[in-house]
Symmetry: C2
Subunit: 245 residues, 2 copies
């Protein structure tokens, strides 16, 4: 899977780190990117400090095919993402006439605070947001989205045509009603036999019944089906029930 | 707040990046650490690859007072956290007799897979887990917890006596029924007047009523109350309603 595009999500905002807000954008992006064949390979949750944002952004944009940032592009003093992205790329922030036009759609007075949302790094392309008009943007391989989930989702939809796809990352799974410690050795053997498939084991407790969800991920649907079949045979041989969800 | 202990959470596991699983441990830890006066300053979501885990762990343990990892300490082949932590510290993994004793409590046969959960890096101290017996551990400033939220929470409770506390990070907040763009400039002035208080603005849409939750965070309760009072006066002067939740 090494030829597949990779991605990193930077979740920017003290409210995520303080526990005030539960992030849900990483899960959304990981799930949607997998469908496009882009592997979300890393996430970082970064505080509202310019030095931290710039450093993480520069590390991530060099290491991964795409970087998606969420949060910090509103009109208030704690919204510093656009400025940090400009600094990371060494370009100025410039007022975008197109962004001003989009903001005018909301019919609110374009004061200094709102005009801040129309400033993007030189060379950036806008990513439109039909939910609340204020746009995100793309610069090189970095996509800058809002943190509010409904808006982040709308921006991701607008950004879709800008993304190169890989072979979709598929998954197949089976629930095994057996403890992980009882099937781990058998599962290791199956993983070794099929190194191009990534097998994960995620234990659960359903109304007191212990078991694990066994997930095979990869790009070859037939191979995934074969791996799941092998897992079912192995779990059954160990006396465990299985259930393909 | 520079004298306060800081922390980084490393969320380890492909299931978080693939979108299969929604992480909730970061929010829990951020919230609980703030009460102890430990500022969660960063989070990273790391894939199940030894090189990535070792690199992120070594970066984080040098930069922050504490590192908490979640995930990857079960008995299956994809549970590689303990081994990676040992490698990051340059020490061997060793069977802990005490951990074997804890695992025996569950009454299941201690096969090779289960014994894996009793191996910890040399020098580590166990962090007990009354939920499912298999322990986490601490080595120097790194705490290694399970990914399952109920178990991560139990391990955090067991680890509490090992943590140095700072001044608790308090918060006070007010909901403003006014758009961010309408009060941003006034809020910036208040933030500049009270630089030791961190003011965040988090917009909401409640049944079509737009507004923002304004949160002041810091260690001085009286100062937080004063900042919230200033915010209420400013919002009211701009014609917005406020509501202290």
């Amino acid at each position: 899977m090494s030829a597949q595009p990779t991605a990193c999500v930077l979740i920017i905002g003290n409210e995520i780190l303080s526990g005030k807000t539960q992030d849900t954008n990483l899960q959304f992006l990981g799930f949607e990117l997998a469908k496009l064949g882009i592997r979300l390979a890393e996430g970082r949750v970064v505080r509202d400090e310019p030095a931290a944002i710039i450093r993480h952004l520069n590390e991530a944009r060099r290491e991964f095919t795409y970087v998606f940032t969420t949060g910090g592009i509103g009109p208030t003093h704690d919204d510093i993402t656009a400025e940090c992205v400009a600094q990371a790329f060494g370009v100025p922030l410039e007022l975008s006439d197109k962004a001003v036009g989009l903001l005018q759609r909301s019919g609110r007075p374009l004061n200094e605070a709102r005009l801040k949302m129309a400033r993007v790094p030189r060379g950036a392309v806008l990513v439109e947001n039909p939910v609340s008009n204020a746009p995100g943007f793309r610069i090189e391989n970095v996509f800058v989205f809002a943190g509010i989930p409904s808006i982040a989702r709308a921006m991701f939809a607008s950004a879709l045509p800008m993304l190169a796809h890989g072979a979709p990352i598929l998954s197949a799974s089976v629930d095994a009603y057996l403890r992980e410690g009882d099937f781990a050795e058998a599962l290791t053997q199956i993983q070794q036999q099929y190194p191009t498939v990534e097998i994960g084991s995620y234990p659960f407790n359903r109304d007191g019944r212990l078991g694990a969800s066994l997930v095979a991920r990869g790009t070859d649907r037939a191979l995934l089906a074969k791996v799941v079949e092998k897992i079912v045979v192995a779990i059954t041989a160990l006396g465990g029930e299985t259930n393909v969800p």
